[in-house]
Amino acid sequence: MDQTTQPVLDIRGLTVRLPIRADRENAIEDVSFSVLPHEILCVVGESGSGKSVTAHTVMGLLPPKQLTATAGQVLLQGDDLLKKTPGEMRALRGARMSMIFQEPMTALNPLMSIGDQIEEILQIHTEMSARERLARVIEVMEAVKLPEPERLVHSYPHQLSGGQRQRVMIAGALALEPALLIADEPTTALDVTTQAQILKLIKDIQRTHGTAVLFITHDFGVVAEIADRVVVMQHGLVVEQGEAKAVLRNPQHPYTRMLISAVPSMTPPARPPKADAPVVLETQDLCKTYRDRSLFRAARETRAAHNVELSVRRGETLGIVGESGSGKSTVARCIVRLISPTSGQILIDGHDIAGLSASRLRENRRLVQIVFQDPYRSLNPRRSVGASIVEGPMNFGVGKAEAQTRARDLMKLVDLDPNSLDRFPHQFSGGQRQRICIARALAMEPDVLIADEAVSALDVSVQAQVLELLDDVRKRFNLAILFITHDLRVAAQICDRIAVMYKGEIVERGPAAEVFRAPSHEYTQALFNAAPGRDFEFGSFATA
């Protein structure tokens, strides 16, 4: 066989068994695919589909005794990894195959300097002298474009940004020029702009070093951006694989078709302007400065929101986009008055609630409701979902029976069985919980609904459903929605108008279509340019 076409990684009929009493018998079943040299193979699939288990099996990092490979072969350059002893696996890990992980924030040892952590891998696998190792460390740090490597080697992870940390991870993974690099959602936790840089880095390295890359993601944008070939997994099975372009343009398996159809388009659909509807929410000069007033420290001030001016009309969705830390949540929390703004005004139906006392505030609580990002923590796990939904209305004097009826109606509205009101949150899936949260917010019959990253934690298919629901309730109740997201595709789909936040300020605003077509502020442009697969238009396929 030709050296260049022999797969670096060849997985054949791999089955990994889950511990007894798990939700299914095998985490992955009869998985077969291979990664060729000079190739980026993307594995996509919904949460729980077995992507990580596959990767960990290759690395020999499955939790011992809980997950075991029961059938198949994992060939790394022809050697069956499943037959190796733990010692032999250790020798391979880091040297011939490396892995980088999703969370750059936690994947580095916080107590060890950057240099030491990269150097560790050289220490384990080579006989290099200390000086040689240091030289190599600097070299790979330069290769991943970390600034000032000589200085940075002595830094600790917390002193680096997320993107830099991920670069450190990559530097470590590449220090010994492995044949195979496994990247398990390496950019999911990063801002789009950073994500774009990291993706470019991986692609560059793969090109220059000829490393084979097994890239795990659930983001089709990313797939469109970098994949040579794609493997689609569902419930532990490989349902489809092939050339990236072919799969994306012409998916065969219904699951793949459904997934791809659910990817929101970067082009906003045409939306009728709502210029004549009354303004229900308006902020003027809204500022919030966090003061970390601690007895033992100099007060640390974070200017999280500065002179934020925005307005939302009835029946309109205003999107706030921006990268992490730009102050989006701060604005949302001020408007809901979970925190008090430092200055400025928040007008709800024309009444300023920015400075209301606790008791006056309570009377106004009904008008603004919020849905949070994390569906798992947004519902009190100890109370039935019914109790959570009726809590608000009953605070405002609605009788129990009436509140119950309203709750049942809302359950129907969000497409859930009204009889499941007395079930507990853990008996629902993430998407269902997010629906319940929406129902809870609607139960208050608010004028303004704030969705703070309300769909970011959901799989694309579920995400599409929840988005649809939100748009539906907006129409039905003529709600004003403030939709906060960092996902431009999502913003494009649901927002009438967009405000772009950057370092606590709104740098650009306008109708969604306009902003997407011709972003004017340079930050907005950078943001849009960084969106993965922005040039790829995902088709919509019949899934039946």
Binding site: R333, R362, E363, I370, D374, L379, N380, E391
Partner: protein
């Protein structure tokens, strides 16, 4: 029709839950089951002490002093000829009382203070300074001082053992409150206009229960030990009321002459504390996996 189905669902839910309890708790933590059973036996022993072939535990009988264990006195007699078996069985009452009372009191008081400190910013600083102060005083010393200063009685001993435990509970509760109040579901309740007392009771308090139950077992165990140490240092429960602590304390001079005076209550104490600790560990593992890791 649907109501019946519902009830069935509930019933099967209950049955399922029981089965799950058996599976998860009893099979995974057999030690916890043993601890629980032991504790229940102790409590039964305490309640039914008069029926367990005991004699008057404070009846003096100097003629029979310092008899070893035998047919007449199962656990032997002490220096006043009192029956160690009866004293030990009756002592269960006191030790368990002290343990349980200290646990319940410290948890109840600590809970209130902790909730207030955690949720009412203004009180936080003051309350926590006071708690820091209390915490800084070594617990045993505080207890000895309180007992010897205010006179030995069951009440003072219990109070003296309880007070040093309070700051720990307060800190625990406060830490939980501070983290739970940031939870989205609490914020959602705030946004829904729920009043502070209701927020505390409905949304925050339940989160403190599992770790507090666990904490209560540790307080209970350490209270029983502290009671015995106070006895040893001459500041324990009054000698007229037999407790494991003061039986041992009174008998310590006789450690080499009449070891049974110390041995039986000591063994029972160790066993009970062990049972409570094991129960606590098991509860922690089942009720509160998060804390399980942290402890």
């Amino acid at each position: 029709m649907s109501a019946i189905a519902d009830r069935d669902a509930n019933r099967s839910g209950l049955r399922e839950r029981l089965a799950e309890f058996r599976r998860n708790v009893l099979s995974r933590h057999p030690t916890m089951a043993i601890g629980g059973v032991l504790l229940i036996l102790m409590i039964l022993g305490a309640v039914f002490a008069p029926l367990l072939f005991t004699v008057d535990p404070i009846a003096l009988n100097p003629i029979q002093r310092l008899r070893g264990p035998g047919a007449a006195q199962w656990f032997g007699t002490d220096m006043f000829g009192r029956d160690i078996y009866s004293r030990t069985i009756y002592g269960t009452r006191i030790s368990l009382f002290v343990g349980l009372a200290a646990a319940v009191l410290s948890i109840a008081i600590g809970l209130v203070i902790g909730l207030l400190a955690g949720y009412v910013r203004l009180l936080d600083t003051i309350l926590m300074r006071v708690m820091d102060g209390l915490m800084a005083i070594p617990g045993i010393l505080l207890a000895i001082a309180l007992v010897s200063l205010s006179g030995a009685s069951l009440v003072t001993v219990t109070v003296a053992i309880t007070i040093p435990e309070i700051p720990r509970v307060v800190r625990l509760v406060r830490a939980i409150v501070l983290s739970v109040r940031e939870e989205p579901y609490v914020e959602a309740a705030v946004a829904a206009g729920t009043r502070l007392p209701l927020i505390l009771i409905r949304h925050i308090l339940p989160n403190t229960i599992p770790p507090l139950i666990v904490q209560a077992t540790y307080v209970c165990a350490s209270a029983m030990l502290t009671e015995s140490i106070l006895g040893f240092l001459g500041a324990g429960t009054p000698p007229e009321i037999p407790s494991w602590g003061n039986i041992m304390a009174e008998g310590r001079t006789y450690f080499q002459i009449a070891p049974w005076i110390i041995f039986f209550p000591g063994a029972l104490l160790a066993l009970t504390v062990l049972a409570v600790n094991v129960l606590g560990d098991g509860l922690r593992d089942t009720l509160d996996p998060r804390i399980a890791k942290k402890m």
